[in-house]
Amino acid sequence: MPKQTPEPSRISAENTSATGVLDEQSSPPIASDNGTRKETQKSRVADIDRETLIDIYHQMLLCRRFEEKSAEAYSAGKIGGFCHLYIGQEAVAIGSISAIRKDDYVLTSYREHAHAIAKGMSPESVMAELLGKATGCSKGKGGSMHMFDKEVGFLGGHAIVGGQIPLATGVAFAAKYKGTDQVALCYFGEAAVNQGAFHESLNMAQLWKLPCIYICENNQYGMGTSLQRAMSLHDVSQKAYAYEMASEIVDGMDVLAVREATMRAVERARKQSLPTLLEVRTYRFMGHSMSDPGNYRTRAEIEKHQERDPIKLFSASLKEEGVLSDAQFKEIEEQVKQQVEKALKFAEESPYPDLKELYTDVYASPIEPTNNQGKEDRN
């Protein structure tokens, strides 16, 4: 790959005082961009067509209700193993995925149900996978942490912290190698930023100019350990400096801010084949997983963040801008409810994998044992 010193592109998160999440982490102000950015969610709403806005809202609500239903199913013992819920972070997956094309790629961690649905997978196939059914997106072999759908460009579902970061870098490498203008979105939590895989990947991505967008979903806790207790430099976006990579801090509770920031990164990736690191500051309202007692943070802290619930914020904007009426909100709520019910019903009624599936999909080209060539025993 021809080497070329990239131009450092440093774009600020705007108006940090407007967002509680950003305030809390007292991120340093960074040079502002060319001033095309909107100040508020409401002002962004005005720039986007109604259909897209409704679709985004619908997706957010669908993911929220889907996760609530999953929690219910988990509690009822229908879902096994780990189940990491996304409630509170919906703006990140849905905002960013709304900014890419269907043929672009998404790779993420084990907290991926919303990303899967946002990328176009049916709630049925995701729920069936959660229940370990043959109709699940991974035929019941992956479960909550390993959703895949080649058709829609959803490349997993990876459960080793940071493991998906080199993979996404490779997917972007392949896009560039083949000369397509596809991009890869790579999601990970802020705890993954401490992993070597993160640093090794960012280095190669900038060195080789790969169209990969690294989206750090900074929800402030790596499992039960706060960012402050695990990271020497709290400002994740600054990690990009080490690689001369463009980076940006984004309000992860504002779905349209995430969408906009992602669009800028996507443009950089498609037009200049350059990577970007987005630090999206968000908060998870539920525990790390369904088995998390949550004793590392206070109820008050959670409630404070819930005031900026991304769905509440977005519905308020939509209402204020007159995009949706109360009746329409209700209608969407009803649709989503039915979608989720239908998904669970589908999953429950689906069969478990056939027992012979245990030994399938281990190898793409399995090698059968050689025959004994009819040799007889000589003894």
Partner: protein, 329 residues
Amino acid sequence: MALLTMREALNQALREEMRRDENVFLMGEEVAEYQGAYKVTKGLLEELGPKRVIDTPITELGFAGLGVGAAMAGLRPIVEFMTFNFSILATDQIINSAAKMLYMSGGQFKIPIVFRGPNGSAFQVSSQHSQALESWFAYFPGLKVVMPSTPADAKGLLKSSIRDDDPVIFMEQERMYGNKGEVPDDPEFTIPLGVADIKREGTDATIIARSLTVPLALKAAELLEKDGVSCEVIDPRTIRPLDINTILDSVKKTNRVVIAEESHPFCGVAAEISSQIAERAFDYLDAPVKRVTGADVPMPYAKNLEDLAIPKVDQIVAAVKEVSYLVSK
């Protein structure tokens, strides 16, 4: 046929397969401008260009994972580890990503990737640069593990590995890069994975050897013939999947088995083969299966200690005599 060194045969395989398929690319430390740490990739950059022959930073985890990601998106990467010692850093991506992706995704994402490089003992480079790791990788379903012992096998098996749709761990041996042998010129010459080769036929005892121990086993067989013991030498060539039937056929014929390997004995491939023989050919054994392995210590530096840690011909000879109930001379 041409008389080639192992490294030349490997180079031919890489060159031919990269010419054949645009989606094949090669990456690793020093593979391009430096021409390969062991010259296996010599001349490839000149012929195939920097897009397809790529020098990486010294970050094994990162570039191994990048290779797996590229394979998910339809390419056929060849990832060179300067030596397999460094693959230890990359095992998360090899094991958790490459080996399991197809299964976890319910069959959607095959990973046609080759991880290759020298494995096993090297020359006086002490513990961290001189070790045999095949049993690590062979442990995992989803991976195929290939270990050639001759230039022809190296070429034919590497070509098959590159064409294979699964992740292949292709383990060469630094001490054998200069070994010479006849190699077919035909660019369509391949050797199927998963098929053992009977390197020498015999009737009295079976020696199972791979990689570095194959020439040692052949030498031992030659010496033993003079004592009237006819040895069959079997080189599985592919460790996973293992061609156990060829091994069992031989055991049923000879009733005696010695397994020679340079790895540590504990949980090694010989232990697995030995167990399968016990399970499937117990009634044909006239003596316990005997292993000749590397010493169960980290590799020492000093020449005399290093020599002591690596299997030797006379150890194989003695082991065969032991299982044949012949008194050692």
